[in-house]
Symmetry: D2
Subunit: 398 residues, 4 copies
């Protein structure tokens, strides 16, 4: 279990974003440091230099490493000695700023954990992919749901053929918090998410459908072929979609559906995925993440719990667990698992190795590109009356 | 509660189909007689005259009213005196035979409860609609899921505006029993359902997606405008779809999805419907039918139980209940509720009244036509690469 | 499946109790007739002769068999010819009247289905046992929860050793409807249940703890040795217990607990039983009766569904099912299963056989005696500060 | 939300226990540091001096503060300057060593977080209480389930009278991992827990029933009066109880039950508590900790989720949350909440204040004493055939 993993090398973290009023910056810092494998030592916590510095004490960042801007941080940190300089940068700013920060970090040689969606649009994503490929940095995207132990367990089960050929994937992410026009009330989280100049071409589909789509890709490895998407904006006056459904044809003939809502009263972060294979089927729900139902005709429905010691738990599931069964793990630990997998690669790099770039346990830059492509094609399909558009991108090639 | 309803007039039932090896015939007879408001007195239990007569003792039908064919039954019963003749006919034969039997029954003046889908194709359904309109019989279609007390409760809640404007409807019906090619093993239930000459143009979509679609229509009253459908046949060599998903545009701008599967390992009759309105949302699942979740932002998730005495239970929900809360009711009682609602109309007719034909509590001939139209348009859309096709039918007009 | 069982011989039912305002009388009549193996032909529906006769049309009982009293019914029916006379009597009156009616029915040679608790006190129960033993009638007590298919399945699993030695049984029956002093508002159901002159020595423990206790006895076959019980009356001014917990020592060294409440806000009929054996454990809940969880260390939690066709379903579970998996069955069907099992014995008797008296599939007179003994000893133990009292009764001997 | 709480003063942690092979030591260190309000700087990680020092790198503890024994640590740290010396000691060793370590820490003036049960027996607990009272240290016991946000929410609801007078408390803690005689297989966790010389007078009752009992005390504030307990050792050859049930009389007339099992196949850490009040009732389950069911007659069952922004969430529930609703929190965060509450008191002390000693948000030394008294009286009652013994201890006085 991760909880007992030795600390080979403690990594130094530099945080971009996360200043006063931020939510996701704090999540990243907790997740990164959860296992004591990393330490937050530097930050450019706001685009406002003054606020950036004022926020530093909240994170226990020393004054001399509380920078006024990410440029300043990258510059100053680059000049520090090897055993002091930050190892990686976590980018937790709004979508539209990811690209320039990430590119600068990569070019400065820092490993990166970038919040999702990775960039503002596909062109940026592709350019960032190139930058990463030209560097030797480790680059992860925080599709945090991939970090849940039972998601990892399911992935290994599927990739090893336990469920047979996968034919259907039904993924949903249902929320209710944007049911009213919160953006008109200057609610910060709502404001940027519904603003095309900050969020990008899509609303709910960029913010949450990408998670559901990525989860299906991650768990099954199925390669997509085409998408037909239908987006809706139900709240009057809103600029971006707050509801939608996409149908996906996979290259193996399988069929996928992704449904996202931000207008379903009372729903919180209801991520549910159901996967049907020729030999078995499974179902997992984020809000009760320590259970997964596995089904086969003629057998009882089986509830797999997150149990690192159970005979039915595979290596991936066990490695992602910190606690014995029945002591629930949740969001932070899953988030930390994305970090942990990236840390393994960072340590490998630091020790002179060449960590794999594709098919990594952590979502990588290619997943980031695919996510941006998914958003672009969904929006385009919806604009063309749900026409079938290609969903094959080079980033997804093996 | 129905359980204490007085028996104003006990109705006499004639059963078509239901002979040895049948399942649904027995369900109809149990459901019809559950409340002691009807009595099974005659039957044409098989298309094979000999087997028809041999099956009669299983139903306690007297020899002299065990007929060799439905024609014989309608003919003979028509000649019996008013106080002996059957009041209604229940049609529980395979799909492709419904039409001729139903039409004959209607023309002979018998009330009809017809299993779903109502006919083999839309043309038959429209012709049957005309026949019903030209008669004064009560005609019900056994979309039995509409009979669940909490479905009725939800319907009244929605139609009275409690959830506001309805914007999204997600309905699914997931099964697993046709995961393998059972029809090749001469399993009777599988054989006719996967045979286009008996089942009609669709497989899973005719058999179960119609239920899911009907449920959404029944609960919300939303009028459909267009459909885009994608059907799949995952089991090799099968002649009809065993999986599919349809997206529905409703006339009010709402969006619906209907997903049906018969190839999802271990799934039984997993009918789930989620309905999102501007003021509230609800969720109901057939396999646990005594609960419904109602949600509103800012309030706890509320589990409405089937509780005829609860202040939150409306008239429709209470009227459909036979037992106090906590004593679960299930499939038979829901099925019986379709009968009970039709019985009310039959009694009204028998007493010289003119029971309503549209917007009845029981699913009627127009619902049957709509169901056939839904199947036809889904198949056609799927054949045209999921093109948007109209889904407005005169049968659905108010 | 029961649904397709042939009707060997249709039995004639005489109902005692069930007049206007009754609930349980209607339940008995629906349950008895559900499978068309019985017909309600006679009734003494109220202790008030006039109301008794007025209630007859509600049950479609002919005037000439609507009797003014049970004595009248037994007398008149006894004189009818074999092929007309009622075969069995269902007793659905308040507790304090069961004994005299049941005894008279037995002595008149009628089979009996008696509501529970079987009598007013233990002395009556023992006398009734003797009367039954001196007759050849079939005598069943409506511990209806024993009729659920998964309860029957569990029983067979346990008795065949699948769970190993049984060491712990935790049973509860939690309700909330007597949270306020309903009896002071002249609510009929509350009034007699809280009145020691009608209900007997116990309130909640007589009304519902007996069910929970019986369920454990039925499912495990464990013989009890001693009981320590603690009863409470939480609602001020109430005459009988409305809450309590009993600890039971079984003869094999196992430990049981029975908890009953009628004062737990919002709880309906929350019967839950958990059984721990050396080889496995199971858990079943009445309010979701089509599922049972079976657990073994090292294996996933297994949800057994009520599935008559599943390989894991044993003969007892399959025989008690009427519908395929996923079409839920519930209270009425379970109740009907008690009747069906008793019908099998009645037919055997009618055909000259000697049906078994002990260890029957239906709860029998010995179970009824045990229930009364349980009530008596619980009340006595509670009166003696929860002293350990014997719980071995001859009725439970093998 | 805690996640955004400013770091007023970062506290320095010294860990006792937690060396190679330990589980709970790591849990304490993660929990303590989760919010970046504390830093692990020193440790005496094993009773074996060599192993103690070898384990230090796993925790990133500097060599010069990796001590060979707790005595050495307390001694050396006491001599360090104020701004370097550890602020608190976390004791994560086996039960029988808690007392001497805790007493020494208290006498040296260090704040303490002690794992539960607090000591080996009641005498030690009472002596420790005195030591704490004579000092001004903050002393917490890690009854970690009290840290769950919905437990805190429930506590505030109950103490403010929302549920009325509390009359019944049903608490259980069901596990299965000691179903077989693991201690014979030299499994470390099993070995000391089943060894009376290390674990104390009770097995399951000391290890887990204390948690269930404490949870009821914490949530309701009800003062106990008497206990009757029945312990069993089902696994042959085991020296301590592995199953048991206790009935508790509260001083207000309420009734409680505590059931604990370590022999229930497949059960993990199934802590469930149900609380019945005159105005409402609630139910919470540790394995799905982000939901709590609140019930009132006549109203739908209400699922309160852990939602810091919901109008129904009270101050205690909101303060214990780090994430918005739908992003589950779990075991570590609850554990951290015990630390956080103790940190608040430590900071208050450090700033010269006198933090409260009783009725603290974190479980304190009095709760520790009560836990030991509960164990002692349960064992004694069980030894006397479940006799009623007093359960009033001065530690519980207001």
């Amino acid at each position: 279990m991760g909880v007992n993993a030795p600390i080979n090398r403690k990594l130094r973290m530099g945080l971009v974003g996360g200043g006063q009023g931020s939510f996701i910056g704090r999540v990243h810092s907790i997740a990164a440091c959860l296992d004591n494998r990393a330490e937050l030592v530097a930050g450019a916590l706001s685009s406002n230099p003054q606020r950036a510095k004022q926020s530093a004490p909240d994170y226990d960042i020393a004054d001399n490493r509380a920078y006024g801007s990410y440029e300043e941080m990258f510059d100053a940190e680059s000049k520090l000695p090897d055993d002091t300089r930050i190892d990686f940068v976590s980018i937790t700013t709004p979508n539209h700023t990811h690209f320039e920060i990430a590119k600068a970090a990569v070019e400065a040689g820092f490993n990166v954990i970038c919040d999702k969606p990775m960039t503002f649009d596909l062109a940026q994503a592709e350019e960032l992919q190139k930058a990463v490929e030209e560097s030797d940095v480790v680059f992860a995207v925080s599709h945090n749901y991939t970090g849940y132990p039972l998601v990892r367990q399911a992935r290994e089960m599927i990739l090893s053929g336990e469920l047979g050929e996968i034919q259907a994937v039904r993924a949903q992410y249902i929320q209710g918090w944007l049911r009213t026009k919160l953006e008109a009330e200057e609610q910060k989280q709502a404001a940027w998410r519904t603003d095309p100049s900050k969020s990008g071409a899509a609303g709910a589909f960029g913010d949450i459908a990408t998670h559901a789509y990525n989860l299906g890709r991650y768990m099954t490895g199925l390669l997509p072929e085409q998408v037909s998407c239908h987006l809706k904006t139900f709240v009057e006056g809103r600029q971006l979609d707050d509801y939608g459904t996409a149908v996906i044809r996979y290259q193996n003939g399988g069929l996928g559906t992704v449904t996202a809502s931000q207008i379903s009263h009372g729903r919180e972060n209801d991520v549910v995925i159901e996967i049907d294979g020729t030999k078995g089927a499974l179902q997992w729900r984020q809000e009760n993440p320590n259970e997964m139902i596995v089904r086969q005709n003629g057998e009882p429905h089986k509830i797999y719990t997150r149990d690192p010691n159970a005979p039915y738990t595979n290596a991936s599931g066990a490695a992602a667990s910190r606690l014995p069964a029945g002591h629930p793990e949740a969001f932070f630990e899953a988030f930390a698992n994305v970090y942990t997998a990236a840390f393994d690669a960072m340590v490998q790099r630091a020790e002179g190795g060449s960590p794999a770039r594709r098919d990594t346990v952590y979502p990588n830059v290619y997943d980031g590109v695919e996510g941006m492509y998914f958003i672009q094609q969904c929006v385009a399909s919806s604009d063309q009356d749900a026409a079938w558009l290609p969903l094959q991108h080079d980033a997804a090639r093996k």
